[in-house]
Symmetry: C2
Subunit: 172 residues, 2 copies
């Protein structure tokens, strides 16, 4: 538990908290996949995180204020991990990282449709999405007029999956 930072540069400090291969992956799955339990994060992990790494990252992220852990009333052993304002405000970073990855890396269509929508929607969409995450994770009151960005991202993803499955079937 060494709390001495390398420097006071904002880029560096952000990197000291999030600059590893797993922290942002965990937050991404909670944020975009709404995975709230340990098992969900472990077993549905696209990248195959190991259980000890996941346990360590959840602990660190809670310690550093990026996640909070609550008890699930329906199951004494289950914990529920929630985003905090600190991690909800990562949405613009995720959006920019997604846009950069889409431009320069060999992304798959299925997994990049969300990034595309976030990029196209721009900052107004990010704000709507963050407001919605506050409803889901911080018990903020829901704005009844707003359609769900979360659902829209999810629907777009499922649509691509279904379309590609149909194409794969037709090819056989």
């Amino acid at each position: 538990m060494n709390e001495a930072y390398r420097s006071g540069c904002p880029i560096n400090l952000t990197l000291e908290v999030l600059g590893d291969r797993w922290s942002l992956i965990v937050i991404r799955d909670i944020m975009f996949g709404n995975r709230r339990h340990f098992r969900e994060l472990l077993q549905n992990s696209e990248e195959g995180i190991a259980s000890n790494i996941l346990a360590d990252r959840l602990k660190r992220l809670v310690e550093r204020g990026l996640l909070s852990r609550g008890d699930d009333p329906s199951h004494k052993q289950k914990g529920i991990y929630s985003l905090t304002e600190m991690s909800i405000r990562l949405v613009p970073i995720f959006a920019e990282m997604g846009a950069w990855g889409r431009r320069f890396m060999p992304v798959s269509e299925e997994l990049s449709i969300r990034a595309q929508l976030l990029e196209e929607g721009g900052r107004p969409l990010w704000e709507d999405f963050m407001a919605e995450l506050r409803v889901l994770h911080l018990q903020a009151p829901r704005d009844p007029g707003k359609p769900s960005v979360f659902d829209r991202l999810r629907a777009a993803y499922l649509e691509v999956v279904a379309r590609n499955a149909a194409v794969a079937d037709a090819a056989e």
Copy 2:
């Protein structure tokens, strides 16, 4: 040299290239500090990077297309590292990371003034800055009408340093 990626998710792919504690630090120093030689990056490093790590990261970043290495005609041994379009397009990510770090981490005033200006300037300023980086690193033609964002960021930093030095003097 294992080129198998963990997944095709844009966030994950960006993380696989940049998700460590040093790669973005190196790019930051080249981008905002205009440090182009190995020694400059090593000795002026705010965070104290080790020479073997620096050598390794420069090599990897060149391999992956985020930097290019050219010879310095004035010195047979010197290499000049330049940004590429791929790394210039990281400006929005740096800006968002800087804004997040400023909001949630214990940043120092001196090192965060640039992040503040980038945040306040918004995307139009980022575009001007990227255009200027293309002039500095990719031999793009200079737009004569534009004042230099790079110089403006640098001047603001030096001003804060000078002001804080004066305050420190007065306190003695």
